[in-house]
């Protein structure tokens, strides 16, 4: 992956009347990366994507693509192509004509168009379906046609608006891998909008998390999961147990914290949060909590609780454990190694965590 930026957004804002859909968005996308904009529905992801595509002009700020300022450049003149949420397959054209649509605008020779269309259809595994009518396609096939129609243009950037949200679960997972493979092979920059955290994490090199029109954190999936920049991000991506904590000492790269569950535990500071002076919030991922009948050895902190709920997911088991002094039960998830559920509701258990699993989430703002 080279270090040139294919898209630069600086201070981009979009207002609809008095409503601000996107505010002060600054973002650099690297050439050849798979980037996702992740956030709950209505947070302004699509609007951000449409400003890159040229369907909406920013109210303020600047978008450059490949070093060129896009101000006043219409969608049909931009080196981007889009896969729409509804796929927008032209209903009056067959598959071949749908895919050839953009190439015809470029006035290419007939033979070349045919070659590129069949190449693109092969690529999305719809080889030979040129004469299939648009209304005879399944959901998955429509998605592939939309992908082929955009990729055949060889755009510098491919924009995808919730491309998998209309598919059922199995197909969606299969397409995640296929799109990832396509992106790798072609080396085209993909910018995908999604509200599905798993989709974003399995496919992307980097993820930008948005809430209420603001870009909150941009990082690799691993970093987002391990070092979220605040409570909102931490709870949107994966599951998280939150504990209010008092800070008894601050060192350069660590904090000593005390919570209801443990005392004076030394944890790493999180570089993604703003360091303050007051009490903080810490987070622990459920799969990083050990659950045992007896006090477990080798953990930096152990505490007791009572199982109040057991949820069996197949690949793992979630235990909700009530701990004295906490409003909400602690959630611990255990892989299903031996096809056994070890604890039942009402069992008294021990929980254990390592200090490395306790994530500093910065100052504890009331939420």
């Amino acid at each position: 992956m080279t270090e040139t930026n294919i898209i630069e957004m600086t201070g981009v804002e979009k207002r609809f009347g008095t409503f601000t859909a996107v505010s002060d968005l600054s973002l650099s996308l690297r050439e050849g990366e798979f980037f996702s904009l992740l956030g709950p529905s209505g947070c302004g992801k699509t609007t951000a994507l449409r400003m890159i595509a040229g369907f909406q002009e920013p109210t303020d700020g600047r978008v450059t693509i490949d070093g060129q300022d896009m101000q006043g450049i219409a969608a049909n003149k931009r080196p981007t192509n889009m896969v729409f949420q509804s796929y927008a397959i032209f209903p009056h054209l067959d598959v071949g004509d749908n895919v050839a649509y953009g190439l015809r605008n470029r006035g290419l020779k007939k033979a070349e168009i045919e070659n590129r269309v069949s190449e693109a259809l092969e690529m999305v595994e719809l080889g030979g379906l040129q004469r299939r009518r648009a209304n005879e396609l399944s959901g998955g096939q429509r998605q592939r046609v939309a992908l082929a129609r955009a990729l055949v243009m060889r755009p510098k950037v491919l924009l995808l608006d919730e491309p998998l949200s209309a598919l059922d679960k199995k197909l969606r997972e299969q397409m995640q891998f296929e799109m990832r493979r396509l992106q790798r092979n072609l080396g085209i920059t993909f910018v995908m909008v999604t509200h599905d955290q798993y989709e974003a994490m399995t496919m992307s090199d980097r993820i930008g998390v948005m809430f209420d029109g603001k870009l909150v954190q941009v990082d690799s999936p691993e970093t987002l999961y391990a070092k979220p920049c605040n409570r909102e991000v931490a709870s949107f991506i994966g599951e998280m147990n939150f504990l209010p904590a008092q800070v008894s000492a601050r060192q350069e790269n660590s904090l000593t914290v005390t919570t209801t569950c443990f005392e004076n535990l030394k944890i790493e500071t999180n570089p993604n949060v703003r360091q303050g002076y007051g009490d903080i919030l810490v987070g622990i991922r459920p799969e990083q909590i050990e659950i045992a009948a007896k006090q477990p050895d080798g953990y930096d902190a152990t505490f007791r609780g009572d199982v109040v709920n057991v949820a069996f997911y197949g690949e793992n088991v979630h235990y909700h454990v009530r701990v004295e002094g906490l409003d909400r039960p602690v959630s611990a998830s255990v892989p299903n190694y031996f096809h056994m559920v070890d604890f039942r509701e009402g069992d008294s258990v021990w929980l254990g965590v390592q200090s490395a699993s306790v994530i500093d989430l910065g100052e504890n703002e009331p939420s």
Binding site: A53, N76, M82, F84, P91, Y101, M153
Partner: protein, 261 residues
Amino acid sequence: MKLAFGLQTYAFFYLGFLYLPVLFLPLFSFNDGTIVAFPIKGWTLEWYRQLGSQDTLIQALVNSLLVGAVSAMLSTAMGLFAARAYVRYRFRGKRISEGLVMLPLVVPGIIVASSMLVLFISMGLKPSLTAVILGHTFLALPFAVAIMKSAFDDFDVSLEEAALDLGSTVLETFRRVTLPIVAPGIVSSLLVTFTVSFDEFVLAFFLSGNEPTLPVYIWSQIRFPAKLPNTLALGSLLLLASVLLLVIAEFFRRRSSKSLV
């Protein structure tokens, strides 16, 4: 059960009251006699045969076809753009303008006709087919707008955006994507607006001057009892044509909403 039966009876009489008189028209057009009264004397196609040899009638038919075709095209073109704007955009005065477009449906024809006559004459436009075309375009516009609105209602905006995204200009997008997709709606609107114009009497009577359209011609012939069976035959043909056109129009309108799944 009882209520359903009552409703059925009501519907039966209602439809009978509505359509029975209309059915007398074709019935008596085959009657071998000039008096319109039962019993029917015998069956004949004579009245239909005579139609072909009446020059003024043929001229009126040509006038009507011309007026119908031109006003259908004008009102459909206007309806197409108006409907696209109504469905796609929010703008100041949209509600009022949508209401105004539908006004010809409720304003009494005689009022529209007399005010148009006054207006056209004051503008120096003598009663003529041109004046009728303008009047009929105005009258047919609500139908065109309503039909085209339903065509655009089912139209996914991102289809036009996809065309732009793939490099089409705004005009190309309209020609290669918008038009073909709403084409069934356009055909349906053309047929309906043509029928509206073709059957219209009051405006045509006021505005046609000495170039009568078919309904005006029929009216002028009704005064001659000897010509009555001819008029009945002509009326029956008109009826048949209108029904056919509307059925075809409905077929296209339905197709337009189906093709966009």
